[in-house]
Amino acid sequence: MQVRRFIPLLGFGLLSVLLFRGLSLDPTALPAARLGQPFPEFAKPELQSGEAIGVADLSQRPALVNVWATWCYSCRVEHPYLLELASAGVPIYGLNYKDDAVKARAWLTQLGDPYALNIVDVEGSLGLDLGVYGAPETYVIDRDGKIVHRHVGILDSRVFHADFGAWFSSVVEGTVPLAQRGSVAK
């Protein structure tokens, strides 16, 4: 028996471990490239007021930046949960992404407006600077204005409790009651 005859078996063993690990990884998940960096500079109109706004208009406390559009079906699904979060005191900024401003205002009038401010990004250039590749996406910016987390897809109470607790502990731990908590979560 020669030791080197076991080399292929050893190699295959390593490969199997890798493949097993692979089963629990999501190959499509893409971490945000901007994590840890300041929110990109921008000069865009605000949706309701029409005033020009920039990074300086974002608050000095942890907040969400929610990328949404009226053409995005999933955004409609997550909208009620955003309203809940807003009523619980979470500051949410909207990034109205590649949308029609008239339709967007109508949507907010009809469904309610959870957003403290809404950045109008018609051509999607701010989205591009952020690394947005679809809607909905939700970013967390911390008190220093740095991007610290990104969630791709529908934001619901399960996701929020699992991934957003570090920045919104008061909401997650229930010190601030959420109206109809979890009504949107499955």
Binding site: L9, F12, S16, L18, L19, R21, L23, P27, L30, P31
Partner: protein, 660 residues
């Protein structure tokens, strides 16, 4: 009722496969002749019941039985009958059934054509194949039952076959590819049987060699068809994308190429034995790994089946048992005594080593490139993409490294040769090719150093092969050409090597000299490309069987000659609402003209892509020659000796055609 009968057949096939795995193998260890003799009948039994299941599923598709889940998900009442049939394997569950059916077919072929072999050997080979059948039948029955019903909520109509798969190329591509994939289980089973029996000798190599060549030939043809289909159906004019799923079929092919050559050495000279066994295990392992990659969702691919980690886990466990078990057996049982038969550094053996080295490194590199994103992700080192630029950068030099040796190999002698003799034989061809290559490449197109290099290397291979052919034809004393003296082995190799040269030439020329223009065109507009004039004469609409097509009529002229009318289409499929580009191609041996229709861009104009693709056909003609050559080698007389020695004589010539 029909689906239930199909399900029962599949369960019976599963039971028979278990019997096939256990009984003859036990018999071979105990020397129990009756138990061993059961193997061929059990193999046929597995085939019969898998075939019944397959036929019943086909019946469900043809009868539009939308209570069957796979039919509802992949067919539609408007679908033409031929596509209803091929829709059977356009999905995970059905294609798995096809996989098992083909495996059972190979088992039966081995059972019928190998009666001259020692009984214990044949019993073990069939048992190993039976074990693989058990694994895949269990996979099908437990995780991917094709006969699952949607009761009582039966949909009124099916959601249709993906329009991309509604194409004749896709009717034969998967079966051919699976013939190759699954066929590699035969040399694998022979290798395992030989390891168990401790009989790794030249006769073992001789038995498994024709099977390997045939399986590898089918794999070549399957890959060729896939590439051709992608070319005309996807509308991009690309022919190879280095997508993980393409790589999954390419890795066994590369390893199989090494195996085909290594088996030649083991058969003729009795050396490289443990290496050849290892290659046989690797080749089939890569084909199993491919199945895992395609069906587990571990990698993203445009071709992948629905991702399902549970299915992935099942295949992974099976993969670990089969491959891990084989490699353990190899570690314990492979011959440790170096082959006694010597050969010199300058010999045919060492040239075939170069082949083996290049192809194993190529397969390993493709494997590494394919799995690299997964490795980095698993180690939390970030998300990476490894795509065509990487694979081209590493693969092209490897092939270029191989080609100079390809000419020397076939003319060199076993055991020992002399460089002086090589020089005598090849100096003439070398000078001819070096002089002609730049001239030829400059004459055909504008001079380009890569094309000149490709002409040089491909020319070197072709000249060497043709010169050898000429030598053999004129070897006799009389002046007549000795066609009858050529053995099928030699003819097959000649075809395959010429085909390889053609593929290389085609690949480099089409990459370097393709021209492409994306234009906005309305009726009456015309454009120039590659010396051709394309005039858009008319735009119209035409309903098809299950779609509506926008059509653009192009008249192509070269100088004053109208050479073709091309009608690219944009189809909207009624059931799914999907839109698909149907490119129009004027094919030729030296160039293809390719038109794809984009979207309307206003004022009656459409976005149009015109492409000029020189020598793109050489890719598929060349690959066809490789695959066909491999099939031809199996007709060699020396493999039929084993048939002739069987108890009942078989009419000559029938031999391995059945295996095809």
């Amino acid at each position: 009722m029909i689906p239930e009968l199909g399900h029962i057949s599949l369960i019976i096939a599963f039971g028979l496969a278990i019997g096939l795995t256990a009984i003859p193998f036990w018999g071979s260890l105990r020397g129990h002749v009756a138990a061993m003799n059961l193997a061929p009948s059990l193999a046929v039994g597995v085939l019969v019941f898998t075939a019944i299941a397959f036929a019943l599923l086909a019946a469900s598709f043809l009868q539009d039985d939308f209570s069957v889940a796979v039919v509802a998900a992949n067919s539609n009442s408007l679908l033409p009958p031929l596509f209803k049939f091929s829709a059977l394997w356009g999905n995970h569950e059905g294609s798995l059934l096809l996989w098992v059916l083909i495996l059972a077919g190979w088992m039966t072929a081995v059972a019928c054509l190998s009666r001259g072999l020692p009984l214990a050997m044949i019993a073990r080979v069939l048992s190993v194949m039976g074990l693989i059948a058990v694994g895949f039948l269990a996979f099908s029955l437990l995780t991917s039952n094709p006969f699952e019903r949607l009761l009582p909520n039966t949909p009124l109509d099916g959601s249709d076959l993906n329009p991309l798969l509604q194409d004749p190329g896709l009717i034969i591509h998967p079966p051919l590819l699976y013939m190759g994939y699954v066929g590699l289980s035969v040399p694998f089973a022979f290798a395992i049987a030989a390891l168990v029996g401790g009989r790794l000798d030249a006769s073992w190599a001789r038995w498994s060699r024709p099977w390997t060549n045939v399986a590898w030939g089918f794999l070549t043809l399957g890959i060729m068809l896939g590439s051709w289909w992608a070319y005309y159906e996807l509308g991009w004019g690309g022919w190879w994308f280095w997508d993980p799923v393409e790589n999954a079929s390419f890795m066994p092919w590369l390893m199989g190429t090494a195996l085909v050559h290594s088996l030649a050495v083991t058969e003729k000279r009795g050396v490289f034995r443990s290496w050849t066994v290892l290659l046989a295990i690797f080749a089939f392992s890569l084909s199993l790994l491919g199945t895992f990659l395609v069906r587990s969702g571990v990698l993203t691919s445009v071709h992948a089946f629905a991702a399902d980690p549970e299915r992935g886990l099942f295949i992974l466990v099976f993969l670990a048992l089969v491959v891990g078990g084989s490699l353990l057996l190899y570690a314990l049982r492979a011959p440790t005594v170096a082959s006694r038969v010597g050969y010199a550094v300058i010999s045919r053996e060492s040239l075939l080593m170069v082949n083996n080295l290049v192809f194993t490194v190529a397969a390993t590199t493709v494997l590494l490139g394919t799995l690299f994103p997964l490795v980095m992700d698993a180690l939390s080192l970030g998300k990476y993409s490894v795509g065509p630029p990487y694979f081209n950068a590493v693969f092209v030099p490897l092939m270029a490294l191989l080609m100079p040796f390809m000419t020397v190999g076939p003319i060199s002698r076993w055991r020992q040769d002399a460089p002086r003799r090589w020089l005598q034989e090849l100096l003439g061809p070398a000078i001819a090719v070096v002089v002609l290559a730049p001239i030829l490449s400059a004459l055909m197109f504008d001079f380009n150093v890569w094309v000149a290099l490709a002409v040089l290397l491909a020319g070197w291979v072709a000249v060497g092969v043709l010169r050898d052919l000429w030598h053999r034809l004129t070897a006799g004393r009389s002046g007549a050409l000795q066609w009858r003296r050529l053995s099928p082995s030699f003819v097959g190799m000649t075809l395959a090597h010429l085909g390889f040269a053609a593929v290389v030439l085609g690949a480099v020329v089409v990459t370097q000299h393709s021209e492409e223009r994306d234009l906005r065109m309305a009726e009456g507009d015309s454009a120039e490309l590659g010396g051709f004039r394309f005039e858009l004469t008319r735009i119209g609409q035409q309903p098809g069987a299950n779609y509506i097509a926008d059509q653009a009529f192009f008249v192509v002229t070269e100088g004053d000659n109208a050479i073709a009318t091309l009608v690219p289409e944009k189809r909207r499929y009624l059931a799914s609402g999907q839109v698909m580009t149907e490119a129009a191609i004027d094919a030729g041996l030296l160039r293809d003209l390719y038109i794809a229709l984009g979207e309307p861009v206003g004022e009656g104009a459409w976005a149009v892509r015109l492409q000029y693709k020189p020598m793109v056909r050489w890719l598929w003609v060349g690959s066809f020659l490789i695959g066909f050559g491999a099939l031809v080698t199996a007709l060699d007389r020396r493999y039929r000796v084993q048939l002739a020695s069987r108890q009942e004589p078989e009419p000559a010539g029938q031999g391995f055609e059945f295996a095809g």
